[in-house]
Symmetry: C2
Subunit: 209 residues, 2 copies
DNA sequence: GCGGTTTTGTTAATAATTTCACATTTTCTG
DNA sequence: CAGAAAATGTGAAATTATTAACAAAACCGC
């Protein structure tokens, strides 16, 4: 069910929820498609189309119920039992991520970090225990970790991905600038900040007439 | 010229270059479309189509010349005089970014950081001087900074974006989870790691049959 | 209660992106 | 040198994503 939602829609649903959570905190009970659209820099039609795809129906002239919509998006994109996540490489970026995620989403819990630096192993950072990379296989299985976020140095990207796959991981988010290869059964997402920055720089350049 | 390249192509060109630079370092002189494709997890046709769009012609049976292609991609996406970049918010993520970018791309130079924490102002981090946010307007104009990377706490996202726009910035890369609004003349790119993680988690969930 | 306005939901149209299919060229092999 | 194999380049088709257009319903002001 809901397996064939467009990839772009999945991303937007996550973003809608983020915006809706802010509205909920502010005590807002309803929201119009064009309000969501404004926040996300897209069109109101697109918002309505996405909500149509997940079968949510708003109220005419009142818009969408913020709380209900948050819940429905949760039903669609979250998994019921939650998903345990590991950080590979507790360096600058790894720590920044742990800090950022701490308590943000109850369905996604960072339950372990891994490193090879003996000074870090055994410590806890923002509530996340750091283990030795050597124990990756065991810990990932013990803690039922499904997703790994790779923040190791680029030269260790390939070997770390291999270890993760061997340990039975189901999804990898790779922040390393080194693309990795995984079997089809593992979902892979790669992101490089330089690509984003170069894209911004490109459009700045061509806007300069 | 080259103004109407598809957005997706721009992103991929940046990624091709990243891969090609690694090949160049290894001493590889030529590369086939299917080799590039494998690295980027896309199809060879897509690579050829992108290169067709930028007017690059490879050699039949030899593939593409690594060095030439790197140079051509540079001609397309880099601006000739280089672009100066500022980091807004020298916290965990800001410092991680400075560290990461240091010396990676000569065309994109992080020339200033801004913060409001007096302990940070006046210091230098990985060669990047940290200024007070109050001086943003002056410094951005003095140093001819065109692009800003926002890594301030979410509650300061809106005001920081406003300051940047007032200072005449041309592009913003927003890593804050708070979407911001800017005039059409400013190119805006937003990225939230939670969206990426939720996307990975979603596909892990639906792959579990 | 009526006419005007606003908003949703959805079909149809359009636009963007990717893939297919294949002609062409080069290289290799015997 | 002929035929097979491997690669590029590209028009056309297919797919995916976005936008336009509009009917229908709800509310507002009078
Ligand atoms: N810093 C950024 O903003 C940024 C942005 C994009 C990508 N990246 C990439 O993310 C990665 C990490 O960046 P960083 O700034 O955190 O670097 P860092 O050097 O601060 O952290 C790397 C950490 O990984 C650990 N490590 C090394 N080998 C390991 C292994 N085999 N298994 C587990 N842990 C291991 C190190 O001990 C260190 O703690 C790099 O590949 C970098 O290119 C960084
Ligand atoms: N840490 C992550 O991995 C991560 C990931 C995605 C997004 N983010 C977002 O990036 C932002 C920064 O994250 P962080 O972990 O670096 O936080 P942080 O608290 O470590 O850093 C924020 C820095 O911004 C400075 N600051 C505060 N107000 C400012 C202002 N008005 N002008 C300039 N500087 C100001 C603070 O002094 C601090 O140095 C947050 O919005 C966070 O949600 C972080």
């Amino acid at each position: 069910m809901m397996k064939n939602l467009p990839h772009k829609t999945i991303e937007r649903l996550s973003q809608y929820r983020r915006a809706l959570l802010i509205c909920l905190e502010k005590g807002q009970t309803h929201i119009y498609s064009h309000e969501i659209a404004k926040i996300q820099h897209i069109t109101a039609v697109q918002v309505r189309r996405d909500l149509m795809l997940i079968g949510y129906t708003g109220t005419l002239r009142k818009g969408y119920n913020v709380k209900d919509l948050i819940d429905l998006i949760g039903n669609i994109i979250d998994s019921t039992e939650g998903i345990n996540v590991a950080i590979l490489g507790m360096g600058n970026l790894g720590r920044a991520l742990i800090n950022y995620f701490a308590g943000k989403r109850s369905q996604l819990k960072i339950v372990a970090g891994f490193d090879i630096n003996p000074d870090k192993i055994g410590n806890t950072m923002s509530g996340v225990p750091c283990f030795s990379s050597e124990d990756m296989n065991r810990i990932i299985r013990e803690k039922n970790i499904k997703v790994g976020i790779m923040t190791v140095p680029a030269e260790f990207a390939t070997s770390t991905a291999e270890q993760l796959v061997k340990a039975g991981i189901r999804g990898i988010l790779n922040y390393t600038p080194k693309p990795v290869t995984v079997p089809d059964s593992v979902y892979l997402e790669e992101y490089d900040m330089i690509t984003s920055l170069e894209k911004v720089a490109f459009f700045v350049k061509i806007n300069e007439d």
